[in-house]
Amino acid sequence: MLTSILAAGLAVGAVYALIGVTYNTMYSASRVMSFTAGQLGMLGGVLGSLFVLRLGLPLIVGFVLMLACCAVIGIVTEIVAVRPVLKSLDQHLYVLSTLALALMIQQVTAIEWSTEPQPFPRLFGIGTGTFDEKFWLPVAACAATIVGLEMLYRHTLVGRAFLAIAEDNFAARALGLPERRLRIASFALAGIVGGLAGFSGGELLLAFFANGPLLNFYGFVPVALGGLGNNRGAVIGGFALGVFQQAANFLVGGIFSSVAVFILFIIVLLAAPQGLLGTTPARRV
């Protein structure tokens, strides 16, 4: 029982954590939180199933194609829903534009793909029971992403440029960094992370359009808990959330587990609006 809660909890928590990283990556590049993060996760599963199962492409080809599509969706988000409203951030128009785009993605998927969960291919066929690949694939993907991002930010020039525009936009531009191109690249990166989340979690969550809003919410909780822009916090928050959710599922049953998660989320947020590991906000006056 415990092993099964842990296995499922860590696996689904890893997916949530990766969506949290998606949120963070978009935020770092633009100070904007986007409703499309969860939809990218959903598309990872749906497109993976479409390419590998329905169209029968080889696994690697399908995977790369899916990542490419998600990167494109990320870029589209930046161009359509983020860049036009960056000037009026205080009006919070970005909430509306990204919400609209997320809804469009969700509805198109529901109508064109299916309203029922569709099967996701068995990727490698490794493992059974608690060590089935559907449990450790997301965790592996999460670890790889975190390590990859760390290396990117610390050891490559591009990564440091990302950090620069996140830290101080004006100074970075004054230094001559191509801010717009970097932002587009950041959103493409966010798309890739989201797609990876959905693909690695596909055997667990299936290819289902309703995963979009689900991941939007459960992917946001790690961000709220760990602090905006804090990837390590998102990972810790994600795993904690996954295990808590599975435990609640087991203890109080399906209906009330989502209530339990939400109440916990609200309480933590009201107590620490910047997140448990977050930073204090900038001066207002």
Partner: protein
């Protein structure tokens, strides 16, 4: 439905043309309008899509043969998307604006609960296949008739199979977290206990829960000999089948027809995982040990050849749609098109030979499907929309 609007336009044009040929435009040449509340898109749209094929085929066939006493049938479809709000709007539109003679549908219990009082107020003759028991009440809703089994009948069939044919005493009852799942589980548990069986485990599980092992382990530890499952989610069903295989357990699953849906085939890890699953089926749409459908059903399937696809839907849906249109047509033919005439005709039906079932209605009984025709099917045995009878039936 664009199709239906075009049909409407075509048939109206045809009627108008006929009228213009010199015959006076009497009410008798007006088409018979049948409203069809179909959840064609949105969640749980598969049944409506199946019914729709039957509806369109039946209307076409009748019209090709000259219609009902010279009157064509017009099916006016509204896509309610499974949303009770849209269903209410569409129902009122059919009553007041489109002025239909009868309404077939909705296919979704949530919608039916909302529109039944509205149709009753307007005394609109209504046939539907929804399972919720409270939908049918000859006193409150004298206009509403059900041509498919009710929840009680489903429950009786499943319970009868478990206790009478599988002969098990310890049963685990699982449902999803939808309204339907919650109510169905409650009803089954009550029925089992009343019949002296032991419910060793019961739970409503979120259909998106990725791992079913905890629940199934608990059930096994409690000694479950069979699972009754009331879930509309094929994903959840498949996960349970795969978990059963991973646990090396061969407990039978009995219950909701979703477990025999074609989607499950893609979701199980091995075809063997899909064995020993028995779902609600109907004698008229089941083939026996020799692979033969009952004669009347076979005749219908033969007539479908090339015109109606059955491989990706269920025969009972298509047949049900056919029957619905025929019931209205027969009422108009034999009694008249006024609401009271249609209702009175249905109230007198005794073993009306439909394709899906033999319907019997009386003024005090509006559940028309014979309980003995509800059987269990072998879930993985689908062939052109029909299933093999589960083992144990004579």
């Amino acid at each position: 439905m664009p199709l239906t609007r075009r049909r409407f336009a075509l048939s109206t044009a045809a009627t108008a043309a006929a009228a213009g040929l010199g015959r006076p435009a009497l009410a008798q040449t007006e088409p018979i309008r049948i409203g069809w509340l179909a959840a064609m898109t949105g969640p749980s749209s598969a049944p409506a899509i199946g019914f729709n094929r039957g509806v369109l085929w039946a209307a076409d066939t009748i019209n090709a043969a000259g219609g009902v006493k010279g009157r064509k049938i017009d099916v006016l479809t509204r896509d309610t998307q499974g949303d009770p709000t849209k269903a209410v709007n569409a129902t009122q539109e059919m009553i007041s604006q489109l002025k239909v003679q009868a309404i077939w549908g909705p296919t979704n219990s949530g919608e039916a609960l909302a529109v039944t009082p509205i149709m009753a107020r307007a005394r609109m003759p209504n046939i539907h296949p929804c399972v919720v028991d409270s939908l049918i009440d000859p006193q409150k809703f004298p206009n509403a008739f059900r041509m498919a089994p009710s929840n009680v009948q489903w429950d009786d069939a499943v319970r009868g199979y478990c206790l009478g044919i599988l002969k098990v005493k310890k049963i685990a009852v699982i449902g999803d977290t939808t309204g339907y799942g919650v109510t169905a589980v409650r009803q089954t548990v009550a029925g089992l206990i009343k019949d002296g069986a032991e419910v060793v485990y019961q739970n409503n599980i979120d259909a998106t829960q990725p791992d079913m092992t905890p629940d199934m382990l608990r059930a096994r530890n409690a000694g479950a000999e069979a699972f009754v499952v009331w879930s509309t989610s094929t994903g959840m069903d498949a996960r349970m089948f795969n978990t059963r295989a991973a646990m090396n357990w061969d407990v039978p699953f009995v219950g909701h027809p979703s477990m025999s849906s074609g989607e499950v085939a893609n979701l199980v890890e091995k075809p063997a995982n899909w064995q020993k699953v028995y779902t609600i089926g109907f004698r008229t749409c089941s083939f026996d040990r020799n692979g033969k459908l009952p004669p009347r059903s076979q005749e219908l399937v033969d007539r479908f050849q090339g015109k109606v696809t059955l491989s990706d839907t269920l025969l009972w849906w298509v047949a049900g749609g056919v029957d619905a249109i025929n019931l209205v047509a027969k009422a108009v033919e034999n009694a008249g098109a006024a609401p009271d005439q249609i209702i009175q005709y249905w109230n007198r039906l005794d073993k009306y030979p439909g394709y899906f079932g033999d319907y019997t209605f009386t003024p005090s009984q509006h559940n028309g499907y014979p309980t003995q025709d509800v059987v269990m099917s072998e879930a993985s045995s689908a062939r052109d929309g029909a299933f093999a009878l589960a083992p144990g039936y004579g």
